[in-house]
């Protein structure tokens, strides 16, 4: 039976979450091409260089906070409902949806106010050109902070619906192992609860009251540190859903089955333990933080490579198993027996391949001292467009080709366009990202409208600056085309009448090595959450104590708000 007929209420919820996600993707992609053409100097006719930062803020917030969070909410809802075989609690889930949507609208309106002359609304200029990191003492309209808070609180409540379903399922099935998909969802949400505390405190205790004038100053280093307490785990909040897809659905799409259920569980537990006590690796070049704390975060970060390296093994092994089930031979020739013409498979596999490249550039980022070379250069967006911009985004698009027909009961339309789309994205990202990495090595900064200066000129590294600009512009254009193709396929499928039979189904084969082989302790959430908290206290306790315990206290060395 098709998911939509089996769980009609939950399907409607997921569809609503996906629609918000896809709208955010469309606007974010439009902002993306405007930036790509603007900063490379190919076309600067859309916005002024001062307004570039409004577009950049919108691109960041809409793509990494809205597109991701809503898509993940939908994917997780599907994962829990399908593996626990029940509708999700409706009131809780819809309350979460409306809270998240309200937050999104508030944040989006305050950002877009910037391109409409920042009118005065409720006593503050309606503008939020603060980028998605909103570092104090730059001040956004208070509605921006309220919006960010609602989006996060909404995601907490959405998580509550998953837990409620799990408890209900547990009451019916006291001795069974938690199904893998639900296990992954719940582990990710535990990580999310632990890590979003940082940004919630930054926004609710400091930035919101400060933007309203209730407190005079905040300590920019403290709020920045609280942001990055959340800012790295959020990366795993994007990645773990992609891993869920790669572990549970991709093996089936390859024609085989998952290699190992126990290893999949172990990987997710490692993410819960290690995702948060690493945030200082975004602050390697920050003053005011002793070197020892940076070294602890660096060590944790390096061990965080382990679950991703293990994932690379399991995913490739599962795909190879699938290819061999289809009759493949040879050490590498099996690659040819994979269904590269099926967009759901091709998108996930290409996303995984690009993630491997992103993983290696991430190892450079994580290297405490080599980080000096690339910190805040174009290398960094080059890196995260491979991770969140491809490992997550391309996986999300690819799995939508498989999932949306099951959520609507309508066969996928525009199949030719869907088949080409992952390759367009891959080609665009290959051009843009390699050039961004090399531009970063040349010292060209990120987050700037015009990377040329009066005082000096950049020298290219492994290529010329002009060639890199051209690749970034062409790559960015292809990525916009790729996003547009995806949205056309989705829109056409969505508005079609129901009819015809689906070529996809939600049945997932059992793993080669099933849950009966994985130790029960892996499902002990209390234990893993407790260890995660201990690691966080070790990594963050002393630095935070020294920041708030100094003579200047909680709000100092203080800065008053500076509107931008």
């Amino acid at each position: 039976m098709v998911f939509v007929d089996e769980y009609p209420k939950t399907s409607k919820l997921i569809r609503s979450e996906f629609i918000v996600s896809f709208v955010a993707l469309g606007i974010g992609a439009l902002f993306g091409i405007i930036q790509a053409l603007h900063r490379t100097g190919l076309f600067r006719g859309v916005v002024s260089s001062a307004d570039y930062y409004t577009i950049l803020t919108g691109h960041g917030v809409l793509l990494v906070l809205v597109f991701t969070t809503f898509f993940i909410a939908g994917l997780f809802t599907w994962g829990v409902a399908s593996s626990l075989e029940r509708e999700l609690p409706q009131r809780l889930s819809w309350a979460a949806f409306w809270l998240m949507l309200t937050g999104t609208v508030l944040a989006a309106v305050s950002i877009l106010g910037g391109v409409f002359g920042s009118p005065n609304v409720l006593g503050h200029d309606l503008s939020a050109d603060v980028l998605f990191t909103f570092y104090a003492p730059m001040k956004a309209h208070p509605a921006f902070y309220v919006g960010a808070a609602l989006l996060i609180v909404g995601s907490w409540i959405a998580g509550g619906a998953y837990f409620k379903s799990l408890w209900a399922w547990r009451a019916d099935n006291p001795d069974e192992r938690i199904p893998l998909k639900t296990f992954m969802v719940v582990t990710t949400m535990l990580m999310w609860y632990v890590s979003t505390i940082g940004v919630a405190v930054a926004v609710l205790v400091f930035l919101l009251p400060w933007s309203l004038g209730l407190i005079e100053t905040v300590d920019p280093l403290l709020t920045r540190t609280l942001f990055w307490y959340f800012g790295h785990p959020v990366v795993y909040f994007w990645l773990m859903p992609a891993y869920l897809v790669w572990y549970t659905i991709l093996p089936k799409l390859s024609g085989g089955r998952l290699f190992s259920d126990p290893l999949a569980r172990a990987v997710f537990v490692l993410f819960l333990l290690l995702s948060t006590p690493v945030g200082f690796h975004h602050q390697y070049t920050d003053p005011g933080i002793p070197e020892g704390f940076k070294f602890i975060a660096m060590t944790n970060t390096m061990f965080l490579l382990l679950p991703s390296l293990l994932t690379a093994f399991t995913v490739v092994a599962s795909m190879e198993h699938g290819a061999r089930q289809r009759g493949a031979k040879g050490y590498l020739r099996w690659l040819r027996n994979l269904p590269w013409g099926k967009p759901a498979f091709a998108g996930c596999a290409l996303a995984g391949l690009m993630f491997a490249a992103g993983g290696f550039s991430g190892m450079i980022n994580a290297g405490m001292n080599i980080n000096y070379l690339i910190h805040n250069t174009l290398w960094v967006p080059g890196h995260f467009h491979l991770t969140v911009g491809t490992a997550f985004a391309l996986t999300a698009m690819a799995i939508s080709y498989w999932l949306v027909p099951q959520l609507t009961g309508k066969p996928l339309r525009q199949k030719a366009m869907a088949t080409v789309q992952p390759y367009v994205w891959f080609a665009g990202m290959a051009l843009m990202s390699n050039a961004m990495h090399r531009a970063g090595l040349a010292g060209i900064p990120r987050r700037t409208a015009e990377p040329t200066y009066d005082e000096f000129a950049f020298q290219g590294v492994a290529g010329t600056v002009g060639e890199m600009r051209l690749q970034i512009a062409i790559g960015g254009t292809l990525l916009f085309v790729g996003a547009a193709m995806f949205l056309i396929v989705m829109a056409d499928t969505w508005i079609a009448q129901r009819g015809g039979t689906l070529s996809v189904n939600g049945h997932l084969p059992d793993p080669l090595s099933g849950p009966e082989h994985s130790p029960r302790i892996l499902d002990n959430y209390k234990l893993w959450t407790a260890i995660a908290l201990v690691l966080i206290v070790i990594a963050y306790g002393p630095p935070l104590a020294s920041m708030v315990g100094d003579a200047q206290g909680l709000f100092g060395p203080g800065s008053p708000p500076i509107p931008v």
Partner: protein, 175 residues
């Protein structure tokens, strides 16, 4: 828990890679002496930096000669310039001398990197970034503000002129 032999091998190789990375970084720090930016610069009142009333050298930023082979450069980063550094006010230091940069912000967060070197630090209001370096080769080096600091962020650059010791004139710096 059943673990396949290939998995064990991969697990071992992954751990080796991780430990190897940590070892090279520890060596870079302890052996070669590539230290991290830390809290050695201390804290400062950003509003006093803005009004020039810190009672420190930041009230009159520029190059200060500590001794024959050590110079300290005090730089204030503010929307949208480095003082000194930006426009026709480059930072001038001699080659083959120890140069300590002390950088702080008068307003919002900025970045301070010297292009094609490993001098790269955040500039955070309330904190002083301290970086010590040595320029082996004379020439002009670019300074970039690499953290978004407002609508004119893309104009915020600067330069460091490293001149041969024989040509460096001590009279242009504070003693």
């Amino acid at each position: 828990m059943q673990v396949h032999n290939f998995e064990k091998l991969w697990f071992g190789a992954s751990l080796l890679l991780i430990v190897g990375f940590i070892a090279t970084i520890a060596y870079g720090s302890a052996g070669i002496g590539i230290t991290m930016i830390d809290d050695s610069g201390g804290t400062i009142n950003a509003q006093a930096v803005q009004s020039g009333e810190t009672g420190t050298q930041f009230d009159d930023p520029g190059v200060v000669k500590e001794n024959e082979s050590h110079y300290t450069v005090y730089i204030v980063a503010q929307q949208f310039q480095f003082v000194p550094g930006s426009g026709d006010d480059p930072v001038r230091v001699p080659a083959d001398a120890t140069v300590t940069f002390q950088v702080t912000s008068a307003d919002v967060m900025h970045g301070f990197s010297i292009v094609e070197t490993n001098i790269n630090t955040m500039v955070i209001p309330g904190q002083v970034s301290e970086v010590t370096a040595r320029f082996d080769e004379p020439g002009t080096y670019g300074i970039v503000c690499h953290e978004y600091c407002g609508a004119g962020h893309h104009t915020m650059g600067g330069s460091v002129e490293v001149v041969p010791q024989s040509e460096f004139n001590d009279t242009e710096v504070s003693q």
